[in-house]
């Protein structure tokens, strides 16, 4: 599967995170497993999915709280790994995509609020204004996810091919330790959080 097609699948799956249904089909574990299977990077997909899933379990999506998009992080990391990048570098790319996606989503939510009164005025008369507004919002969000995941994947893969192999050792050591420690930090986070609250 091509990078663009994988990013398209990610954009559709990610809609479930907030906009459509919330069945948790967008959870990193599912996104990583599915994209890993589709791109032929099954192990990398599972690794990224499990790591980002565990890291995100203590972030409650309450009251519109936005921290970082771990579904996008897991999906983008898998796509980058499928493009030939090393696991640590793909993981770092995933983290970057997750942070950027959240910034874009915060902007998107603010923009929706600024047009809310005008929409409410049209919706009072009925006639499908609300349905069209919701469809537009869903389409725009999917396009934004596609752009962020695709942009980060393309940029990271370009850096990987031209520069990463010659990067200073300390940078590669930093990326390696970050990726290697992620599952353990995630498990520790869930344990600490569960013990504190139960």
């Amino acid at each position: 599967m091509s990078t663009a097609a994988a990013c398209l699948v990610l954009a559709v799956l990610e809609l479930d995170a907030a906009l459509v249904a919330q069945t948790l089909a967008s959870r990193p574990l599912v996104v990583g497993a599915l994209l890993g299977a589709l791109t032929g990077e099954t192990q990398a997909g599972m690794l990224f999915g499990a790591a980002f899933e565990l890291l995100s379990l203590c972030d409650l999506p309450v009251g519109g709280c936005l921290t970082w998009s771990t579904p996008v992080a897991a999906g983008t990391a898998t796509v980058i790994a499928a493009g030939g990048a090393s696991i640590p570098f793909a993981f770092a790319g995933g983290v970057l995509a997750g942070i950027l996606h959240t910034r874009a989503e915060a902007f998107e939510r603010g923009r929706r609020a600024s047009t809310g009164d005008e929409l409410a005025g049209r919706a009072e008369a009925g006639g499908g204004a609300l349905g069209r507004a919701l469809a537009y919002s869903i389409g725009l969000h999917a396009a934004m996810t596609f752009a962020v995941a695709g942009g980060v994947a393309a940029a990271v893969l370009a850096v990987d091919r031209r520069w990463w192999a010659d990067a200073p050792d300390f940078l590669r050591a930093g990326a390696a330790l970050m990726a290697a420690s992620a599952p353990w930090l995630g498990l520790a986070g869930v344990t600490a959080w569960g013990l504190r609250r139960s």
């Binding site: 574990l29 009925g126 300390f170 498990l187 986070g189």
Partner: protein
């Protein structure tokens, strides 16, 4: 409400947050979900229908699953208000407004704690453990097991709660909330959180068991550091940043080239 109308409202409730924004939050999605029913209730009075749409476009926010119960109760009350006239109708409409706001906040606390704070972590750990078990058994379908276990563990109770909430809200109105508070939800939350902690420790043991002695020590130290940092309120993203910086420092000093 006919089964077809219930299905229409239910289908639209899946889009509750499709236009979530910082001022109305779920208000637009909630109005969209209720619209078919409002059109039936207020069919004979176009101005009253426009007013009904306006009041549901206002601020509303709750847990996405709790919204189904809230929608059931509100639909029942809108039908009751439409059947009244004069001051009695005005009072019923004012009650719909205040009830909706109160319901949103009170249900959110309970549903957030159970679905986000207990069932979501427990179902994720079920998925991770299923993947580890499939890997140990040599199954080539570890990703499918992981995704299937995590999705089933969350969605079977979640969709049951959605369907039951909508139906019960329609049938008994506000009494459904009282019935809900009589359930031993707190003990379920504690049980699920303990299961999540047990799952995390088991997953750590299984994962670390696959490593060599040196890497096992590194994993244990990282796990211990993660416990301390989480207890001190450091976010997972910041912890990853610290790990990256630590790796770079180690690389510069030659400890971990």
């Amino acid at each position: 409400m006919t089964p077809w109308m219930q299905a229409r409202v239910a289908g639209r409730l899946l889009l509750l947050q499709a236009r979530w924004d910082t001022s109305r939050m779920q208000g637009t999605g909630f109005a969209y979900a209720l619209d078919p029913w409002l059109s039936v209730c207020w069919a004979a009075e176009p101005q009253a229908l426009a007013d009904a749409r306006r009041r549901h476009l206002e601020y509303f926010n709750t847990h996405p699953i709790a919204a189904w119960l809230a929608a059931g109760i509100v639909c029942r009350q809108e039908a009751a208000a439409a059947a009244l006239t004069g001051p009695a109708r005005d009072a019923a409409i004012a009650r719909v407004r205040s009830l909706k706001t109160g319901l949103g906040a009170s249900l959110a606390g309970l549903y957030d704690s159970f679905f986000w704070g207990a069932l979501r972590p427990a179902s994720a750990l079920a998925g991770v453990l299923a993947a580890q078990a499939a890997y140990h058994l040599g199954s080539p379908y570890a990703p499918a097991w992981a995704a299937g276990a995590a999705l089933a563990a969350y969605n079977v109770p979640a969709f049951a709660a959605r369907a039951y909430g909508l139906r019960r809200g329609l049938r008994v109105g506000e009494r459904a909330v009282l019935e809900l508070t009589a359930l031993p939800v707190q003990s379920w939350i504690i049980g699920l959180r303990r299961a999540a902690v047990g799952g995390a420790l088991a997953s750590f043991g299984i994962g670390a068991g696959l490593l060599g002695v040196g890497d096992r020590l590194t994993a244990a130290l990282t796990f211990a550091a993660g416990l301390v940092l989480t207890w001190r309120g450091v976010s997972p993203l910041a912890q990853l940043g610290f790990a990256g910086l630590g790796g770079m420092a180690a690389g510069l000093t030659g400890l971990r080239p």
